[in-house]
């Protein structure tokens, strides 16, 4: 019995400690589109160097999922979206604090297996019957952009799967399950040698713009704004450029 009580008490203490941000250390949670996974990890590390006591937690996923979570009250402090549409949803729901700022832009690229074994030369090849194509779901920014690019190309390429976010598309290609997927230029770069990138011609390109905003319910608005300012600062912009992102 004593063990049960002790276990229960411990569980409650842990639960309480985990659900409320500690007052002693400043902590913020950043919700960011999955294409920002690597660069935001780096930005977080660099930001911590400037503010040693700050604790940052990241939640990466499709921007559409994140926007839904934030609108439904998820405890986010900062939201960085891979498109303006999902940011607009958050703003319209009245849960953003101040105007969102554009901090980066990105372009699309076709990710193929290392060395391009299927000899995919451009978007037109994605409609080939021997090519297993995977896109992000149309609800996800990367999927929406990919459909735009394909429609500009005029090819009716049918994906064999609509993945939940752009990183899932990248994984399917790097695992060899798919021959090709449309991802961001930065995703191909972050995958290193696991995939090869095939350029999409300028006239079929889509420009992805990334806005960032502080969430109204943030308990650490000061730190949240600090992180957002850092992303927009020259230092933050340099990190973004290193990871292949373009200026907004």
């Amino acid at each position: 019995m004593r063990i049960i009580v002790a276990a229960g008490a411990t569980a409650l203490v842990v639960l309480a400690a985990c659900s409320s941000p500690g007052a002693a250390t400043a902590e913020i949670t950043i919700f960011a589109g999955s294409s920002l996974t690597d660069v935001f990890d780096q930005l977080g590390t660099d930001f911590r160097k400037t503010d040693g006591s700050a604790r940052l937690t990241f939640n990466f996923g499709s921007s559409s999922t994140l926007a839904t979570q934030i609108i439904n009250g998820a405890p986010a402090d900062v939201f960085a979206s891979a498109d303006e549409e999902n940011m607009a949803k958050v703003v319209a729901a009245g849960v953003s604090d101040g105007e969102p700022q554009l901090f980066a832009s990105n372009q699309l690229q076709i990710a193929v297996g290392p060395g391009n074994p299927k000899k995919i030369l451009g978007p037109a090849d994605l409609a080939r019957p021997d090519v297993v194509l995977v896109l992000a779901a149309p609800t996800v920014p990367a999927g929406k952009y990919a459909l735009e690019a394909l429609s500009k190309t005029g090819v009716s390429a049918k994906p064999q799967s609509q993945e939940v976010d752009v990183r899932a598309v990248l994984n399917k290609v790097s695992l060899g399950e798919a021959d090709a997927g449309i991802v961001y230029v930065t995703d191909v770069k972050s995958a290193g040698g696991r995939v090869t990138g095939v350029a999409i011609p300028e006239e079929q390109q889509v420009l992805a713009r990334y806005p960032i905003a502080v969430v109204k319910s943030s308990k650490n608005a000061e730190l949240a704004h600090g992180f957002m300012d850092y992303v927009l600062s020259p230092a933050g912009q340099n990190v973004l450029a290193e990871f292949g992102f373009s200026k907004p």
Binding site: G8, S62, S64, T65, A67, T68, V132, V134, A137, T139, P159, Q160, S161, Q162, E163, V164, K172, L175, G176, E177, A178
Partner: protein
């Protein structure tokens, strides 16, 4: 069952426990838009997912019956070295995170997988991104429920009926078909229903291994996940369908559950 007055502390903690499980369901129901319920459930995306989920979950149950009943029979009747380890391996998906199961399936049956590579090279068969892949993923996570239920049925049945049949000259196959199977029929049925319910709710292994495409691999749980962002009212309605089916099955199968598998 002997009734007993519960201590106040237990009542309080039990009430918190019940609230913890019931509140999310109440939340779901409270967000449902009943006026549009029928339209939402008969929308093309919902119907496609419902149809596919029925096909996938029933096929997975059939596959689990085909492979699971013999497996359960061997577990129950044949003591062999390493039986406990093998049984643990084949029931692992019950507690393994389904996403891990999906990744493992990829490494076995994916295009670069141990078996998948050969299937592709020899027969041009590719499993990921096909309905077959969704069925395999569902079978992987759901079959253990059937195997354990059937094994417990085989262990608790009275084997003297089999002995009697055998002394009357019945062969092994005849005994199995006409004596064993009817005797364990309730277990097989219960196992199949639990297996079907688990297959119906499968998400992680499916999306990881089979992908997500409406009409091909986008089963109900995947459709719920995707629709939550664009058409939450459809997502909630589909969730309620899954909830209703699961609740009905658990109530109907309560004896099986309480007795333990």
């Amino acid at each position: 069952m002997r009734s007993e007055r519960p201590p106040a502390l237990f009542v309080a903690l039990a009430a918190v426990g019940v609230a913890f499980f019931v509140l999310p369901l109440v939340g779901l129901v409270s967000r449902a838009s009943w006026q549009t319920a029928l339209g939402d459930l008969t929308s093309p995306e919902a119907l496609t997912a419902l149809r596919l989920s029925l096909v996938v979950s029933l096929a997975a149950t059939a596959l689990a019956l085909l492979l699971g009943v013999p497996l359960a029979w061997i577990y129950a009747r044949v003591p062999f070295r390493g039986r406990d380890v093998i049984r643990a391996l084949t029931t692992l998906p019950m507690i393994l995170p389904p996403v891990v199961g999906g990744v493992a399936l990829l490494f076995a049956f994916g295009r670069r997988g141990l078996v998948g590579q050969a299937l592709d090279a020899m027969f041009g068969i590719r499993i990921p991104f096909t309905t077959a892949g969704a069925i395999l993923a569902a079978t992987f996570v759901a079959m253990p429920f059937l195997v354990l239920t059937v094994e417990s049925g085989l262990r608790s049945m009275d084997r003297r009926y089999e002995d009697a049949a055998r002394t009357l000259g019945a062969g092994r196959w005849l005994v199995f078909r006409r004596v064993t199977l009817p005797l364990i029929a309730p277990s097989v049925f219960a196992g199949a229903v639990l297996c079907w319910a688990r297959a119906l709710g499968e998400f992680g292994a499916t999306i990881t291994f089979a992908g997500n495409l409406p009409g091909t691999t986008q089963t109900l749980p995947l459709a719920v996940y995707i629709a939550l962002e664009t058409r939450p009212e459809v997502a909630i309605m589909l969730s309620l369908v899954l909830l209703g089916v699961s609740l009905f099955i658990l109530i109907a199968m309560r004896d099986r559950y309480l007795r333990g598998v």
